[in-house]
């Protein structure tokens, strides 16, 4: 092992009941570099990292950290060695302050053994200033935005003065400006010889920040290359093991009559005066920055939140939607952005999750026909190529992409006319992503109307027939496909009114 290497993981294997999550994986990380770990969901990236920080014990293999073979039985040991991790799922303590969250488990104490709040506040202020974060140390975590919470998690990981920091999709909840900020932090860390293992699905980030790239596929090591030696397509090829013919398989679909019209939809202080039409066969993209009010608009349409004024018409009929059940009856469906919080029921089976919105279809005289349900689920499984050992498997044990497919299936089984998809491909791997895009195209061709909220500009540009742009609760732009350019959308998303006919 040479002097420049901080971490070597050798022949790491790990099995779970029914799955071989890792087999003989190796990973070598050099000091002061950013090492991107890539692969589709379920490729084993998270498992490998959990082995590294002591959440899982590997079945075999060894870990050499800073020249010494180490055993890491728990996260405390990992932290002591100098390995910290920013988890993909944020886990702040909501009713404690920023300072208390940062120093959780290592609070400074005074002579009496009580928590030294002054020192804690001062240290927090110093840390935040060093990282150029303008967040009040005394603010309660639940008062922060998602992006701020994410930045605090990053600050926390940095504050351990680790020599290796693992970042699991650190940019999934933050805006471009904050991404730039994060990258500056990462460059500073690199200058101090800190190594970063960076997990992401976003290609542009990898090429912007990574030095080395290791690709995993199906729990196996595929390749380790230097970022300079590969490109977008090469990387995708390694990840999926096949060429993706077209990243955005949008095909033309005949645009039909208006099926959904929203008029002057208003929720005071949240969304103002939203009006738009959605046609059969159309994919309408809804773009905007985080907090622009897009999710709030669709939640209002779907009856999750009540509106103050405005009208919703489905196929020319005025709808009175008081709760989601009413919307579903009207032929709407909503794939929510936060799979874990508002999508899956983790401890329920794949089958239960898939059929929960369409149970009426299988109920005869009040009783459910189990045979019809399981047949339907098997069909859906093969139609969407959902990877699960059985339909009785708990959905939380599936990879993110497969969970998302189950949720798509949940809604298709209600035979909706209108599909509202909120960040349909967030946090899922390229393979599943393009499958979902292809499915959207196909559904539009079948005459479904699709309203897609997305924060990924390439997705908006690639999939939409028409684009609505929101800024601070209002629609600030509307573009047909040919006028929808990155520049036009960004201009509207930052508050410059440019409504085009």
């Amino acid at each position: 092992m040479d002097q420049d290497t901080v971490l070597v993981m050798e022949n790491i294997s790990k099995s779970f009941p029914g799955v071989k999550a890792l087999s003989d994986v190796h990973l070598v990380v050099r000091k002061g570099t950013v090492h991107a770990l890539m692969g589709e969901n379920g490729a084993g990236k998270s498992t490998l990292m959990k082995v590294l920080i002591g959440i899982y014990a590997a079945d075999n293999g060894r870990i050499i950290f800073q020249g010494q073979e180490v055993a890491i039985p728990n996260t405390a040991t990992a932290l002591k060695l100098g390995i910290s991790m920013i988890h993909q799922e944020l886990s702040p303590v909501p009713y404690m302050s920023v300072a208390e969250n940062l120093f959780l488990g290592r609070e400074p104490v005074n002579k009496l053994g009580l928590v030294d709040k002054k020192t804690m506040a001062a240290d927090t202020r110093k840390l935040l200033a060093r990282l150029d974060l303008h967040i009040n140390p005394q603010a309660q975590m639940h008062e922060l935005t998602v992006a701020e919470t994410q930045m605090i998690e990053i600050a926390k990981a940095i504050s351990y003065d680790s020599s290796l920091i693992i970042m699991d999709e650190p940019t999934s909840a933050i805006t471009d400006r904050e991404v730039e900020h994060l990258f500056r932090m990462i460059r500073n860390l690199k200058a101090k010889d800190v190594a970063i293992i960076y997990i992401t699905h976003k290609m542009d980030e990898v090429f912007k920040i990574a030095d080395d790239i290791t690709v995993l596929r199906d729990g196996q090591h595929v390749a380790t290359v230097s970022a300079a030696e590969t490109d977008n397509n090469g990387l995708i090829r390694m990840m999926v093991g096949r060429e993706l013919a077209n990243i955005f398989p949008k095909e033309d679909a005949p645009i039909g009559e208006v099926v959904l019209s929203v008029r002057n939809l208003t929720r005071k202080g949240v969304v103002e005066d939203i009006s738009f039409d959605l046609h059969r066969g159309e994919i309408l993209g809804m773009a905007g920055l985080m907090g622009a009010g897009r999710t709030e608009v669709i939640e209002s349409i779907f009856g999750v939140k009540t509106i103050d004024s405005g009208e919703i018409m489905v196929k020319g009929q005025r709808m009175h939607i008081k709760m989601p059940a009413d919307a579903i009856k009207g032929g709407l469906s909503l794939l929510t952005e936060d799979r874990k919080r508002t999508g899956i029921m983790g401890v329920l089976s794949v089958q239960d999750n898939m059929t929960i919105a369409s149970l009426d279809n299988y109920a005869f005289g009040g009783f459910l026909r189990k045979k019809v349900i399981s047949d339907t689920c098997q069909q859906e499984k093969s139609r969407l190529d959902i990877k699960t050992p059985t339909m009785g498997q708990l959905i939380k044990l599936l990879s993110g992409g497969n969970q998302q497919k189950v949720l798509v299936s949940r809604w298709l089984l209600t035979t909706p006319d209108i599909l509202i998809l909120d960040e349909p491909t967030r946090g899922i791997d390229v393979g599943a992503k393009s499958e979902i895009h292809r499915l959207m195209s196909k559904l539009a061709q079948e005459g479904k109307a699709i309203l897609m909220v997305s924060s990924e500009l390439p997705e908006i540009l690639g999939m939409s027939d028409r684009v609505l742009v929101m800024y601070e609760g209002r629609v600030t732009g509307e573009f047909v496909r040919k006028d929808a350019t990155q520049e036009n959308i960004m201009r509207a998303a930052t508050g410059n009114m440019t409504v085009m006919a």
Partner: protein, 336 residues
């Protein structure tokens, strides 16, 4: 490695997986079996049919309310009021089932009523208490722990007020049959328990409502967005739990031929213990009727066996407490 070797390893792996799955699913039954064998060895009287029937008779009341409690827990709720609601139903039912030749009847001018009347009255009173619980939880958004804690205290007060703090006794023979009768040698309360267990099981597994219960417990927000009416599911679950408590009250009053306002005190805790020992998860979405029934049996066998072994009542409480904790530890481990 040759192909055969690989296949052998695979088969071994599968076997182990299958064993693990089996143990996970039936750990609780194995514990019951182990206790059964242990008790039979230590106290030969345990295995006598009369004694075994006695065990089941004793758990029939707890078993009824435990099913309702299970459903509340699946919803990430709880029902602390079941013991008190049982008492209200017991005194109301008993007051409508007194023999006409008894001089100090509660309603002196009431004719002797057919058994269906006190039975229905007990069920309605129970369901009504449950409906109030459900309304407090669903409409007023009061945490189930608090709503049912309030009901626990208030319902006990209602039972005392209604009966003026005295037992209501000397009940008709037809009413007494509910708790004391036998059909083909099987005590009637056991038959009631089995019927209700089957109904509840089918309701949870084979109806839309049942799947909605698990969905709401598994993830309330996701269930709402999938078109489940949260309020309606919650109201129905707590009303049904109340109904079961009412039925348990009728059965208990009948068994002891007397409606007493102090009945069922502390039963809610045994019911919660049964549900939890039976694998119902306090974080919601997980729980089965048969699991809870096994849980109730474990408590029943424990009570009975320790009695037969002449273990002091004080020690019995300690052992019971320990068993509950051990069951949860096992449950936590298997869910990891």
């Amino acid at each position: 490695m040759t192909t055969t070797n690989i296949e052998e390893t695979k088969a071994k792996g599968l076997n182990r997986e299958w064993m693990n799955a089996f143990l996970k699913k039936y750990a609780i039954v194995l514990i019951l079996l182990a206790m059964f064998i242990l008790m039979s060895v230590l106290a030969p009287a345990f295995l006598q049919p009369r004694n075994l029937l006695n065990v089941v008779r004793q758990i029939s009341v707890i078993g009824l309310i435990a099913m309702g409690v299970t459903m509340a827990i699946i919803l990430t709720g709880i029902d602390l009021s079941s013991g008190s609601v049982l008492a209200v139903a017991a005194v109301v039912a008993a007051s409508l089932a007194q023999r006409s030749d008894w001089p100090t009847r509660m309603y002196p001018n009431l004719p002797e009523l057919p058994v269906i009347v006190p039975l229905a009255a007990g069920l309605v009173v129970g369901a009504l208490c449950g409906l109030i619980n459900g309304a407090l939880i669903a409409k007023f958004k009061i945490p189930p722990f608090i709503a049912t804690l309030g009901m626990m205290t208030a319902a006990r007060g209602v039972a005392l007020l209604y009966s003026d703090g005295r037992p209501i006794s000397t009940l008709t023979a037809s009413f007494n049959f509910l708790g004391q009768g036998e059909v083909l040698g099987v005590p009637f309360p056991i038959i009631i328990l089995i019927i209700m267990a089957v109904i509840t099981h089918v309701m949870l597994n084979n109806t839309r409502f049942g799947r909605h219960v698990y969905a709401v417990g598994g993830n309330e927000q996701a269930a709402l967005i999938s078109g489940v009416s949260l309020d309606s599911v919650k109201m129905k679950v707590y009303t049904y739990a109340g109904l079961l408590s009412g039925l348990a009250g009728v059965v208990l009053a009948s068994r002891i031929s007397s409606g007493q306002p102090g009945l069922g005190s502390g039963y809610e805790l045994d019911a919660i213990a049964s549900a939890v020992i039976g694998g119902t998860s306090l974080s919601g979405g997980i729980g089965t009727v048969w699991g809870t029934m096994v849980g109730a049996l474990i408590i029943g066998v424990l009570n009975n066996g320790l009695d037969l072994l002449n273990v002091s009542a004080y020690w019995q409480m300690i052992v019971k407490g320990a068993i509950i904790i051990v069951a949860i530890i096992i449950d936590e481990r298997k869910n990891r």
